[in-house]
């Protein structure tokens, strides 16, 4: 892939027109420029990654050496903080919190992918009366601030006796309430050649079979991108669990972290940061493995982070 810049290409082009003699000097200038750009990129890289590296290193330092130490090399590294963190809080083991986070995230992924794909298929491939109106409303919910919904939703779930369960956190995922994913999949399906499913329709396949046998297998990239985002958003979600969960046995990691912050004294950062690392570990792994899907998903669909 040519990553040469438009400006350098342009410079080369003008050089060609002006003839050879000035070329060497120009190329030298381009080299200097390239070194400068790389240096600048590296500085930004250092600033962008420093907080993460500092977090990882600090989790290995004794608590009293964390706050005032900018170094990325611990003097005596130990896993004591992790031992404290894994012991848990208030009699609940850290593994319980991690398990809860995992259950919520996996169910979120299943619900989001299934319901969004079915909804997207209706919008992209079925010509039903009222389709345009519903599609416009679906897009409208993208711009709706969630604040408007949280109070009445809470009241409904409270009246139904569902506060304290995972139902309020998951039901929306199974009903395609996150319009971002529906939109992403509609966009993807629109790029699938119609000939493929029309041939099947003419052969007598109904929509259900076209969807499950033809469309779903073709949608693999969109499903992977959606799954990763659904997982990470659920894993990092704080407000939802904060509103609906009240029993520490059911807390996912972000709420457990808040418990940690509340119960330990402010300066006791060691275990807190170790716990923070543990809470981010799956997200970081996902990022390392799937970065292409994530970054390309953002580039093409404009998904938020």
């Amino acid at each position: 892939m040519s990553t040469a810049t438009s400006t350098t290409t342009a410079a080369a082009l003008t050089d060609d027109r002006r003839g050879a003699p000035r070329r060497p000097r120009r190329q030298q200038g381009a080299l200097g420029r390239s070194v400068l750009l790389h240096a600048l990129s590296l500085v930004i890289l250092a600033v962008a990654l420093y907080p993460v590296l500092w977090m990882l290193v600090s989790s290995l330092k004794p608590t009293d050496e964390i706050v005032g130490d900018a170094s990325l090399v611990p003097s005596d590294a130990s896993f004591d903080n992790y031992r404290t963190a894994l012991a848990g809080i208030g009699g609940v083991s850290a593994w319980t919190f991690a398990w809860n986070s995992l259950v919520l995230a996996v169910l979120s992924v299943i619900g989001t992918v299934l319901s969004s794909a079915v909804t997207a298929y209706a919008f992209a491939r079925i010509q039903f009366a009222g389709r345009k109106v519903w599609f416009a409303l679906m897009i409208g919910t993208l711009l709706l601030p969630f604040h408007v919904l949280i109070i009445p939703q809470y009241i409904v779930f409270q009246k139904l006796g569902l506060v304290g369960t995972y139902v309020p956190l998951l039901i929306g995922k199974f009903l395609a309430a996150e319009a971002f994913f529906v939109f992403l999949m509609v966009q993807f399906m629109r790029n699938v050649p119609r000939e493929l499913d029309e041939a099947a329709r003419i052969d007598g396949c109904g929509h259900v079979r076209v969807f499950s046998r033809i469309m779903l297998p073709l949608m693999r990239p969109a499903i992977i991108t959606s799954s990763i985002f659904a997982f990470i958003w659920s894993w990092n979600d704080f407000l939802g669990p904060l509103l609906y969960l009240n029993d520490p046995q059911k807390y996912p990691l972000p709420l457990a972290l808040r418990l940690f912050v509340d119960q330990t004294s402010v300066s006791d950062y060691g275990a807190m940061i170790a716990m923070s690392v543990l809470a981010l570990l799956p997200v970081m792994l996902f990022f390392l493995v799937f970065q292409r899907f994530l970054v390309d998903g953002v580039a093409t669909q404009g998904l938020k982070g």
């Binding site: 990553t3 040469a4 438009s6 400006t7 350098t8 290409t9 342009a10 410079a11 082009l13 003008t14 390239s34 990129s41 962008a48 990654l49 907080p51 500092w54 977090m55 600090s58 964390i66 005032g68 319901s115 909804t119 209706a122 079925i126 010509q127 039903f128 009366a129 919910t141 709706l144 601030p145 604040h147 919904l149 109070i151 009445p152 009241i155 409904v156 409270q158 929306g172 009903l175 395609a176 309430a177 529906v182 119609r194 029309e198 007598g204 109904g206 990092n236 704080f238 509103l243 972000p254 972290l257 912050v261 809470a279 981010l280 997200v283 970081m284 292409r292 953002v298 580039a299 982070g305």
Partner: protein, 317 residues
């Protein structure tokens, strides 16, 4: 038309007015609504219904335990006499109006830089994007708090550079810059979108401009900005709406109270305190709708003014 087929091959051939065609269309509509059923249920039960309910609650006094009592515009009147509410409006507006342009400027600057860099662009792009994935998490809020605390690494760095600094977390005048820095650190997501937009700008434009002797600044303002304006608009809209909704970081950094001195009392945080600590659900609903109106208004203004500065190719402006 070809998309109106049903399973029967006969249906495809029938003329639009024939009974077969109409039957096929009805069947298609039934199937469509069957596929749409989960979303429709969610839309009415989780979105449209709650929206109407909160609109009603905004005009009531309601605490979850007694029946709502109609009080007309009282909640809205109280909002303007509530100093903490006004504080939360101020905090949020400063965050949105100052933070979002800074974040987007950083995103655009780095995107331009990467669009130039010769090698390793893919690596930088991924690495810069990473903070966007984790920046809103509780973990990073804790790290941020530690880094910006009194005598923390940020103080050390600044003092080392000759700018004496004594703690950010406890200083009401410094918590906002700290929050804006946290937002700016997450410049990666809009940067990736800018970069995708920059790739769409035709090279020939720059080449022609260079031949005509346009300098790089001139090329930026006369080619890059207009060609990128739809992407700038998209990012501005998205990031503005996102900025209004910041919650977890504010909650953790301020210990859930919006301190010190109300300097991190973000709108969402105050709404949470009012609704779920004080159980003033009617009042909080009024807050939610006031915010929805403001966001709606801002969105509308952005779309209306966009005609003046957003350039879509193929459109003569």
């Amino acid at each position: 038309m070809s998309t109106l087929q049903t399973g029967q091959p006969r249906g495809i051939l029938s003329a639009p007015a024939s009974p077969d065609y109409r039957r096929a269309r009805r069947a298609e509509t039934r199937t469509g609504y069957a596929f749409l059923a989960p979303w429709l249920l969610g839309f009415f039960v989780l979105t449209a219904g709650p929206m109407l309910a909160s609109l009603y609650l905004a005009f009531t006094d309601y605490n979850l335990f007694r029946a709502p009592e109609w009080i007309g515009l009282d909640n809205f009147r109280q909002l303007f006499d509530d100093p903490r509410y006004l504080q939360s409006v101020k905090v949020t507006l400063v965050y949105v109006l100052v933070g979002t342009p800074i974040k987007l400027a950083a995103a655009l600057a780095v995107a331009l830089l990467l669009n130039n860099a010769l090698r390793g662009q893919g690596f930088y792009r991924s690495a810069f994007y990473a903070p966007s994935l984790i920046g809103a998490s509780v973990s990073i809020a804790i790290v941020w708090k530690a880094m910006f605390s009194d005598g923390g690494v940020v103080d050390l760095g600044l003092t080392g550079l000759g700018f004496p600094s004594e703690g950010w977390v406890g200083d009401p005048s410094k918590t906002m810059p700290m929050m804006i820095l946290l937002a700016t650190w997450q410049f990666g997501a809009p940067m990736v979108i800018f970069l995708a937009g920059l790739k769409q700008v035709p090279r020939e434009l720059y080449e022609a401009a260079a031949v005509d002797g346009a300098g790089s600044l001139r090329r930026f303002w006369s080619i890059t900005v207009p060609m990128l304006s739809p992407v700038i608009f998209f990012n501005l809209l998205l990031e503005t709406i996102n900025a209004f909704q910041v919650f977890a970081s504010a909650y953790i950094i301020s210990g859930g109270q919006g301190g010190p001195a109300g300097s991190t009392l973000f709108y969402t945080l105050y709404l949470y305190i009012r609704g779920f600590s004080d159980f003033r659900m009617g009042y909080a609903s009024a807050m939610a709708w006031a915010l929805a109106l403001v966001i709606g208004l801002i969105t509308l203004v952005m779309f209306r003014t966009s005609n003046a500065w957003v350039h879509y190719s193929g459109e003569s402006k």
